[in-house]
Symmetry: C2
Subunit: 331 residues, 2 copies
DNA sequence: GTGAAAGCGCTAACAG
DNA sequence: CTGTTAGCGCTTTCAC
């Protein structure tokens, strides 16, 4: 920067101001600086800037898996919402493990992010302590935590699953099964299972058709295997709800392989409104939790929090939408 | 850090050494420092460390889309391979646009990454200049660039597509169509199309059945629309190759909706070996380009380059695997 | 094994 | 609108 200052015939401070582009530099100086920078192949050093100004321009984000279209959409919503303010996303994934999340949070905080977005509302005590200490805006997303750390953009996974069960019952289904993952790890999946059981009880129906397909994420293949298990052990099942569209699609393919009519003999519903749900044959009934929106709303909260426009911890409730499609038509 | 030094009764330098954990600190001092840090809720500041040591511990990575299972797998391979050395990934996506890539590269370089991984071998002149100037290891992935910037981990998309065509021809297919995206943007897709045309010519077959499904990424729905178009305009088509499994699956669903037998009347093949290809009914013939492997090999190259073990620019050839499945059985 | 001094490249704060 | 001074929180370097 000193070199540029020399070449442009100004002080380093003017160079700094020129790069901030806040219009506080004369046009002549601005042009001279930019030309000198171009000639010297100068690349601004954000590290030094971050250290001195105590503004890293980072927003740290943790998601359970990078290989998931729902979370990817959320990250896009976040990224697009933050880019205008020059904020960059520092992304990490937890593999659906709160211990891994703790390690990740500790690692990310070392970079001095200006805000932190974490997926889900279940964290280790140490994670909570780290986030508290960090004294930066924290947004929990994709859930409605019992004990929020800071701000929240989410919805009740249990309630959303309940609307799905209500729909199936309204369609005349009674012997409804749930295919989901290992309760210990996937907290959102567990919430959905709890919502399933609660809704079934509300309707006075049997809640024992619960298939545990293993640790999250539940793949299409695991959904298919679970469906095969279900068809073998509980062949009178007339509807299946899956923890996600991906496992639901797997279940659907298993029915296709076995010649089981969907929705004639078994209705199938998923969760997440993944691309596949709309296009497979028959298309899948599902819940759209508006993943992109979760991200863009979180971005708005962050911008407000950084502006100081947000005095109270805020909770933005996303209203998931039930999408009824052919996979769950009347019995 | 000064506070910790005081509390632990040592100098700041010893605190620094304790955090580096290189075993050059006495056990007593190490323990005292860790205890003091814990008590004070100290979080190490990577920004200051990066500035002084000129080591950011960042590896910057650009991918076309964050919402793509293939690239997500590559990022996981990279991430897992780099984590052991304490290197963190700084991820950005380009939306399949070389101009956006240029902006992104400029932005990422400001963070002083120690290496840069870029997807594809087509870049703007300015991107190339920026990467040259940066004087850090550069790895291009998912392609075999004509004019590599630095190291490469990739394969020939054209050649891989050729093997797919060869397979279809061997199965007795002759009137083969290609469904792909806008040539201007998706360079890998364009390479695949070129490979398709070259292989068809090699077999002396008609190369005019090319459907342009719009700008990448080509969605399942766009694959379905393209298939509908094809069935309407060129109903004697006996095989379809798609630029990815996702569009291929869309095409398959369109056949299901129209009662077109796959592979009886039309064979379908995709590219990428996405999860869906293995499980849909019928499963899709495809190419596995080993996305995870691309990432882990790139990570290895980076570690070698940073160690100085790599004097020459290296190219690691990935050998994509043809997976023949029921969607392309004999006519 | 430990400490003192200096400085990484930028910008806050103040002055003009 | 521009410049000067000082310092962000670490680590390099050198000394002991």
């Amino acid at each position: 920067m000193i070199d540029i200052a020399r070449l442009a015939g100004v002080s380093p401070m003017t160079v700094s101001r020129a790069f901030k582009a806040d219009g506080t530099v004369s046009e002549a100086a601005q042009a001279a600086v930019m030309k000198a920078a171009e000639d010297l192949g100068y690349v601004f050093d954000s590290t030094a800037s971050a250290l001195r100004s105590q503004r890293s321009d980072f927003v740290a984000v943790t998601i359970p898996s990078i290989n998931n279209a729902n979370f990817a959409d959320t990250v896009r919503g976040l990224s697009d919402g933050l880019r205008a303010r020059g904020l960059q996303i520092l992304l990490g994934y937890t593999d659906y493990d709160v211990q891994a999340e703790e390690t990740l949070i500790a690692q990310l905080l070392r970079r001095r992010p200006e805000a932190m977005v974490v997926t889900g509302g279940t964290h280790t005590d140490r994670s909570r302590a780290l986030l508290d200490k960090a004294a930066i805006p924290v947004i929990e997303i994709w859930d409605l935590p019992d004990r929020p750390i800071g701000h929240v953009v989410g919805f009740s996974n249990a309630a959303a699953m309940g609307t799905l069960v209500d729909h199936l019952v309204a369609q005349g289904r009674r012997r409804i099964a749930f295919i989901g993952g290992d309760a210990a790890r996937d907290t959102r999946g567990t919430d959905r299972r709890r919502g399933f059981v609660a809704a079934m009880q509300r309707h006075g129906l049997d809640t024992t058709r619960l298939i545990d397909a293993g640790p999250p994420p539940i793949s299409m293949a695991e959904g298919a295997a679970a469906m095969a298990d279900l068809l073998a052990r509980l062949p009178d099942t007339d509807a299946v709800v899956c923890v996600s569209d991906l496992s639901a699609f797997g279940a659907l393919t298993e029915c296709q392989r076995q010649g089981v009519d969907v929705p004639g003999r078994v209705a199938i519903a998923g969760f997440g409104d993944y691309e596949i749900a709309a296009i497979c044959v028959p298309p899948l009934t599902t819940i759209n939790p508006f993943p992109r929106r979760i991200g863009s709303d979180a971005a708005s909260l962050i911008l407000q929090a950084l502006d100081g426009t947000l005095s109270q911890p805020a909770t933005i409730h996303i209203a998931p939408e039930l999408l009824t499609r052919a996979s769950s038509s009347g019995a």
